[in-house]
Amino acid sequence: MKFDTPATTNPIDRLAVVGKPTPRIDGPLKTTGTAPYAYERQDAVPDAAYGYVVGSSIAKGRIAAMDLADARAAPGVLAIVTAGNAGKLGKGEKNTATLLGGPEIEHYHQAIALVVAESFEQARAAATLVRVTYDRAGGAFDLARAKDGATKPEDGASDSEVGDFAGAFAAAPVTLDETYTTPDQTHAMMEPHATIAAWDGDRLTVWLSNQMIAWTTGDLARTLNMPKEKVRLISPFVGGGFGGKLFLRADTLLAALGARAAGRPVKVALQRPLMTNNTTHRPATIQRIRIGAERDGAITAIAHESWSGNLPGGDPETAVDQTKLLYAGANRLTALRLARLDLPEGNAMRAPGEAPGMMALEIAMDEMAEKLGLDPVEFRVRNDTQVDPGKPDRPFSRRQLVECLRQGADRFGWARRNPRPGESRDGRWLTGLGVAAAFRNNLLTRSAARVRLDGRGVVTVETDMTDIGTGSYTIIAQTAAEMMGVGLDRVTVRLGDSSFPASAGSGGQWGANNSTAGVYAACVKLREAVAGKLGFNSADAVFADGQVRAGNRGVPLAEAAGEDGLAAEDGIEYGDLDKRYQQSTFGAHFVEVGVDAATAEIRVRRMLAVCAAGRILNPLSARSQVIGAMTMGVGAALMEELAVDRRAGFFVNHDLAGYEVPVHADIPHQEVIFLDETDPISSPMKAKGVGELGLCGVGAAIANAVYNATGVRVRDYPVTLDKLLDRMPEVG
């Protein structure tokens, strides 16, 4: 189905199932521990051997020698895979560094061997007997030092300019020119990357934990130099990914190679201490923001430049994109610069680009509001734009930023905020309120599904879409139930299998809208098949209550399907609506913090997010997404930072003891409001994404609240107590 004109009324608008708060259908499986994750598929693969990954202990250089003799002789060892014995490997399109390193080493903890043994303990013990000597080479590990040598990324399109930024900035009566930094971050999802691989002749099946089945199937085949038709991926449950599982990673490749070498299935889970440096991470940024405004607060000039680093061939962190679109202003400039760093590969983490970009931009807006003597909510409202400021003939499909800010301010009691920082106190706590806008683009990408109606009236949906804890199963079931006029109990959803039609996958908050739109398309086709079989005019046929009706004739779906059932496959494809309209999601974050007057410890007290993101398909799972994102924002604001060892070139705090993410005690009262909205430009579902919107801006709202509480402006994340201490009030 081609979607190239705005949606009109369609069966989804009935909202009998879609839009209703619906508990996740996979919930009971998860809470009872019966949802089998990749590493636990002993039901499918009872005889898997265990693989343990050896990571490089240098960041850059070469393996001079590798002695496997002791490891080979260790009890239980079946095989050891290294680059030297794995045969010629290709490289995935989405991979920057190779997944099995050697003799060349590209980054710390790059996998250099997989030890396969009868038991996990044997594999682990033998792995420590692999003796490696290295020729260490120097590398670049410090973004601040590499910054001056950074260049325009190769893929072009990294700079944008509208009007005359320099002239307008110079002429502006009120200006801001500040630099902000965000650190490297790791996804830190609960389930590690994990795979079981089994060969059957030249066919390979892998059970894995992955967000993007079609990408990863292709890249696995490419790396193994085999046709992708001979590779099958199965990933029905994913214990968190946050972008860390978008790609083929070492666990999957090494399990496949290990299984080939050992002549039997092999399972591999990346060890937690290896995950940080072995996989991808969100790269650190240095961001310079300049804003010029009239005294009344109208922005006349806005510039955002960002520097990040990556391995050769890697991409920049696109931290400036939102600044092209979020606020009005006739003169604009953005630029991305990329430095070469020999740290592990930088890549997507939840809301890549906007998450760190908004952390900087929304502090800058707070600073600017203060310079102008304006309330930060009012300043943002004053600079709203209903069109793409760079291309004014391109309207936003739907933009309710102002409504989010206003409703949030009301609800949160923003009027009670003391605009003078450092003056509000509650016992030992200095208290403050902060606000930030939320913004994340809505991305459209094709997505297909297969639907089947069987002789019992049960509708089965199959698509390679993944559910990474987000609620995909449920919204897909709701979509199919709505389209076919049946209850949720008559729908079965099967996901995450490369033998199913290719979907949008889970990433970039595009999963919900696109994958349900693909299911919608397939259901439209199935409805036509049902109507056609019954001789109904499909335009007149009404699917409701388990029946299809036309005029005064009604036939139960089960009967219509007959013994053999009916099936249909289709997908959604998009025309140029996203070129004619700018499609984005909007919100506002409000936060109250307390800062201990003596120790400068920062504790969040309450949080509110107001979101305008098209039709909310399932308010329950959407809320879960947003509060989870807000929690991640607390981490980004207050504690998450991969500490770089700039001599040896690696992230030092590479486990969950060293890399702190929020615990329950850090997360207070959270409230989420969804504005009642549909966006017919986006898809037949009239929905957009929310899973990343909820993160964008949270960090800045917290940093702004800390400023309001203490009068100390921290521009380097995370905002930790050591950055406040010397400007806190006297104790006692």
Binding site: H109, R124, E660
Partner: protein, 316 residues
């Protein structure tokens, strides 16, 4: 993890003797620290002697009005003991500030005292570390050292001792009771249990190989306001950036010990004479000669400010 043998000890002396016989043997109590280190092959014992069955798990009054805490008393139980809560509040508070409920249910009094550092380089066997591999160098010096020691370290090691409980015990003047392999018992003031690293950071305590801790004795209650304040980036389940254990008497005199700043619970008795003059004076004496890194220099003002808040709280 290397293969190891496992045995259950039948008496404290037998446990001590069993470990003494084998240079590669270790006691295991709750296992919450030792097992993690074994999985990473930071510790590679060839024999484990389980001391959980030794009935060292009660808290008893002592003749001089104090308490004797069995080495195997779990952190949860100790924190909840009504006598501890009433008379040794600083200890109960320190325990509850540590780890998580699940860990405290397993963690024992002796195991907690003897837990090893959380220096991130100690945990990464790809990195040089004098404590893990004597003579290999110290990756933390000149590296990422935000959590590490500002005082008491050496050119060989700047690791901190991570225990909260031990800091309170130091302020309480606790003594450690042990059994040696020959059956002899001795008492060691908790002040002397942990050693500073000097040139031998791998030697962490005054215990001999095979010497078993049987109990920790607390002197009779010290009274006063007993406060434990642990400062950290997140609200729970994190090791201290700095911590302060304080016992403050109504006249302003008292005792102070620090966590998170040194290779052992840090107390300087001479500094306590300054208590009536306030936190600045006390902190200056406590941290005289400190050698912080760029990463952790903030701990010096943080100690002073935290101490200030604690003394203010004690005044009420």
């Amino acid at each position: 993890m290397r293969p190891f043998t496992y045995e259950r000890a039948t008496s404290p002396a037998a446990a001590a003797a069993a470990v003494e016989r084998n240079p590669g043997a270790r006691f295991i109590a709750g296992g919450t620290n030792l097992l993690d280190l074994m999985k990473l092959e930071i510790e590679t014992p060839v024999q484990l002697v389980d001391v959980n069955g030794l009935k060292l798990d009660s808290v008893e009054p002592t003749p001089d009005g104090g308490l004797r805490i069995g080495a195997l008393v779990r952190n949860t139980d100790l924190a909840a003991d009504p006598r501890v809560r009433r008379d040794y509040g600083v200890l109960s508070r320190a325990l509850l500030a540590g780890a998580s409920g699940q860990l405290r249910n397993k963690a024992t009094t002796a195991g907690n005292l003897l837990q090893r550092t959380r220096c991130p380089y100690f945990y990464d066997t790809g990195q040089p570390c004098n404590k893990r591999q004597p003579g290999s160098g110290c990756a933390a010096i000149g590296g990422f050292s935000r959590q590490l020691a500002v005082i008491g370290g050496s050119d060989a090691c700047i690791a901190t001792h991570p225990s909260d409980m031990a800091v309170a015990m130091r302020a309480l003047d606790a003594t450690v009771e042990t059994v040696r392999p020959d059956g002899a018992v001795r008492t060691i003031p908790v002040a002397d249990l942990h050693r500073l690293p000097g040139d031998t950071p791998q030697i962490e305590t005054a215990l001999e190989h095979g010497e078993l801790i049987t109990a920790v004795a607390l002197p009779k209650p010290a009274g006063g306001a007993q406060i434990y304040r642990k400062v950290r980036d997140r609200a729970s389940y994190a090791f201290a950036l700095v911590s302060v254990a304080a016992i403050v008497q109504p006249d302003g005199s008292g005792r102070v010990a620090l966590g998170g700043v040194a290779p052992k619970p840090w107390r300087v008795e001479a500094a306590e004479a300054e208590m009536p003059r306030g936190a600045k004076a006390v902190a200056a004496r406590l941290l005289a000669g400190a050698k912080p890194t760029d990463d952790n220099a903030f701990k010096l003002p943080l100690v002073e400010r935290t101490l200030g808040a604690v003394l203010a709280e004690a005044k009420g």
